[in-house]
């Protein structure tokens, strides 16, 4: 046992000595003349070295030479920039420059087998790619979205392509009026998006599954969705509403009139949280955009809204009653739980609006109303119980008070008869 311990100690000694002896040689062998020289430079010539420190490529062991060529082992600048040296690619060369590796599946498998290798192919189908093909170098290339030397994985929260950085990243160009002037497209997308229900989910609730630009427009193959495809984009996350709409009479009419399905009522980038005011025939109602008064659809819209208002009022009444009973100290957790069933029915009914079927909506609303009625009854009973408790307390306290007064008088009488000595 002791001998084994000694052997272990000798092995440790040799290992430590070897590390000390060979470390300078190892570090010399790993020296990189690109980094050594650029470190001594300033501004944009120093920036690549600093940014590359946090670059995903560096983490996988890649270095300057893997993209730019050259011989980093040579200390002389002319020798280092040998015939393999590629220097900085021109903007129009960038997609191909990155694709040398990123389109090579066998090469990419060594680092990240799950990463797609069709980025370049997709890029050339995109609006950006089309413009670049036509010689417009203002069109976005890889480095505009992914950064140049500080490229980080899309899963890194500081990466430009991390969900909550994407809207701002796209907005750098798309919100710049002078930059986008010649393309004659809106520059309000980022401002509109910020007010949307999706932005609320992303920025306030930190819900990373909330859609950002690329979820609707694609990323490498980014194009604006056509009228016919907008609905399919929304369907990805809202399949139930989409199915109901597809079976509704609106579907055929919208297709014939070439009205984009979801956008017609909900808007596009500024998709604000839907409210019940969007229903019916009121000022904010979207139904009256198309339906004239005194038409049957107009009547149906009115009826649906009326149904919803009644149902919501019942839920509110039930909720208020339970809150009041709760404040009064009556145990109402069971009816409170029951009320969640009515709320669930309301959610279902709201979704059913996309079917525009009065019968279906009425059926679901009535189902929920039945539950709400039961909860209202339970709430009223709870308030009666609270009242009963207070009355009981008054009676009991009066009784105790009378008893106490009687006792007090009795004590006084006794003390008068037998005073303390």
């Amino acid at each position: 046992m002791k001998e084994l311990k000694n052997r272990e100690n000798i092995f440790r000694f040799i290992l430590i000595t070897a590390i000390f002896l060979f470390y300078p040689a190892l570090s010399l062998a790993q020296s990189n003349s690109c980094i050594d020289c650029h470190k001594e430079l300033e501004d944009e010539l120093l920036a690549p070295v600093e940014s590359f420190e946090r670059d995903i490529h560096r983490q996988f062991g890649l270095s300057c030479t893997d993209c730019h060529g050259g011989n980093p082992a040579e200390e002389d600048i002319d020798l280092a920039k040998d015939e393999s040296f590629k220097g900085i690619p021109k903007r129009f060369q960038t997609p191909e420059f990155c694709a040398r590796c990123h389109s090579d599946s066998s090469y990419m498998r060594r680092f990240n087998p799950s990463l797609r290798v069709d980025q370049e192919e997709m890029y050339w189908t995109s609006e950006h790619g089309n413009l670049l093909k036509k010689g417009d170098t203002k069109a976005a290339v890889c480095t505009d979205c992914h950064n140049t030397h500080g490229i980080q994985a899309a899963t890194h929260p500081k990466s430009w392509t991390f969900p909550w950085n994407i809207p701002q990243m796209c907005g750098r160009c798309h919100s710049d009026k002078s930059y986008m002037e010649e393309y004659k497209i809106s520059t309000s997308q980022w401002d509109d998006y910020k007010e949307s229900v999706h932005a609320q989910a992303l920025f306030e609730k930190k819900d990373l599954s909330a859609p950002v630009c690329n979820d609707c427009h694609g990323n490498h193959g980014a194009i604006p969705p056509e009228v016919t495809s907008i609905a399919y984009v929304c369907h990805q996350c809202h399949p139930s509403a989409a199915d109901l709409f597809s079976q509704s009479p609106h579907k055929t009419v919208f297709d014939e009139l070439e009205i984009s399905e979801c956008e017609a009522c909900h808007g596009k980038h500024k998709i604000v949280p839907p409210t019940d005011d969007m229903l019916g025939t009121g000022e904010k109602a979207v139904c009256i955009q198309c339906h004239e008064p005194d038409t049957k659809p107009y009547q149906i819209a009115f009826r649906i809204k009326e149904k919803f208002d009644g149902f919501i009022k019942k839920i509110e009444t039930a909720d208020n009653l339970l809150e009041q009973a709760d404040r009064e100290g009556v145990e109402v957790s069971e009816p409170k739980f029951r009320l969640t069933e009515a709320n669930t029915a309301l959610i279902f009914a709201r979704n059913l609006i996309h079917s525009f079927s009065l019968e279906e909506i009425e059926g679901k609303v009535e189902e929920g109303e039945k539950v709400a009625d039961e909860v209202i009854q339970a709430g009223e009973a709870a308030l009666r119980e609270a009242k009963f408790r207070k009355s009981g307390l008054i009676v009991a306290t009066c009784f105790i008070f009378l008893l106490a007064v009687a006792l007090f008088l009795k004590i006084k009488l006794i003390e008068k008869k037998t005073p303390a000595k």
């Binding site: 009991a396 306290t397 105790i400 106490a404 007090f408 009795k410 006794i414």
Partner: protein
């Protein structure tokens, strides 16, 4: 009717010596002076204990001591059982008022030096009753198996577990394992309804017998002419009853306007809620542990504080033997000052817990 009562009394008197007891009560005198108000807290404690027993027995009808059904049974008691809300609220409120009344009774006895000979054992038995009722509170707090109780109990038992050498064994004994589990609840229930009541009956019995046989202590230094005597029965008992009435009315108001909450069901896998703290009567110790530095010289601050409380408690119990002046019927201002500082410390630390929860 009168004849029947007389016959029944004669029958019982022959067997239970009721006349002798009545005679004793009539002859027994209670001192009356400017501080005699504090005497009534002993009777109030007894009254509250009786309420605890009655409501506790009633709660047993519906309470189920298992982690799968304890919380639900409390829900049933509070929501479905007729007057269940009242019984549980009375039980919970009374438990808290009782601990407060015991503290008042103890400190008033301390400042009136009621522990001096021959009443040393009355003081010591009273001290044990305090410990028992604190244990009642600690074990009863977990029984509803709600989130607050679960985590507060965990904090409490974790503190016990930090004691050197025996800490882990004590913790395992209390919890029925290394942590709060399905084994803990029946164990706490067993403590709460079997072991602690048994000890209470024995010690409270001894305490009451000692009080009755030795009588009430008179404060030191009060001129004899300022001390009068009144018969225990009916004068004192009736005044005591008046106090009980007032307390009963107060409990009724509290229960109607602030019924005891049920909270959320305990979830062992949930994160400890923010600002978790034990029942109010443990908070002075809890806050002390929080503000203690991690190390004092070579000792761990927390362990030092726990040992300090243990030694302090022991000295407090032995005060009748330490206060030599009081034993000689002389004033002992130093001991009174120490008692005052302790009382002030408890009040300040308890207040700090609620006023500065992030301390």
């Amino acid at each position: 009717m009168k004849n029947f009562i007389k016959t029944a009394f004669t029958y019982l008197d022959a067997r239970f010596l009721l006349s002798d007891i009545a005679q004793f009560a009539k002859k027994k005198k209670v001192p009356e002076h400017k501080h005699s108000f504090w005497y009534y807290f002993g009777g109030i404690c007894l009254f509250l204990f009786i309420i605890q027993v009655i409501t506790g027995i009633l709660l047993l009808l519906y309470y189920s001591p298992s982690i799968d059904s304890a919380y639900e049974s409390i829900h049933t008691i509070m929501g479905k059982v007729k007057f269940g809300w009242l019984i549980r609220s009375v039980h919970s409120w009374t438990a808290n008022i009782l601990v407060g009344a015991i503290f008042i009774h103890m400190f008033s006895s301390f400042f009136m030096k009621a522990y001096r000979p021959p009443r040393e054992l009355t003081w010591i038995s009273g001290f044990f009753l305090l410990l028992i009722f604190l244990a009642f509170g600690f074990s009863g707090y977990l029984l509803p198996w709600n989130e607050l109780a679960f985590f507060a109990t965990r904090v409490g038992t974790d503190i016990a577990g930090t004691l050197p050498v025996i800490g882990k064994s004590i913790e395992a004994f209390i919890l029925g394992g290394p942590e709060i589990s399905g084994a803990t609840l029946p164990r706490f229930f067993w403590f709460h309804v079997a072991i602690l009541p048994l000890f209470t009956v024995i010690i409270m019995g001894a305490h009451i017998i000692l009080v009755q046989t030795l009588g009430m202590s008179k404060p030191i230094g009060l001129p004899e002419k300022e001390i009068k005597e009144v018969p225990f029965f009916p004068n004192f008992i009736l005044k005591d009853s008046l106090g009980w009435m007032i307390i009963l009315a107060l409990i009724g108001v509290l229960c109607v306007f602030f019924p005891w909450e049920i909270g959320q069901k305990a979830d062992a896998f949930a994160a400890t809620p923010l600002g978790i703290k034990p029942e109010w009567y443990f908070t002075f110790m809890f806050t002390t542990l929080k503000i203690m530095p991690s190390h004092v010289l070579f000792a761990e601050g927390e362990i030092l504080a726990i040992l300090g409380f243990m030694v302090g408690g022991l000295l407090w119990m032995l005060i009748p033997f330490l206060d030599r002046n009081a034993a000689k019927e002389k004033k002992s201002p130093v001991i009174s000052l120490i008692g005052f500082i302790i009382l002030l410390y408890i009040i300040i630390m308890t207040a700090l817990t609620y006023l500065h929860p992030r301390l």
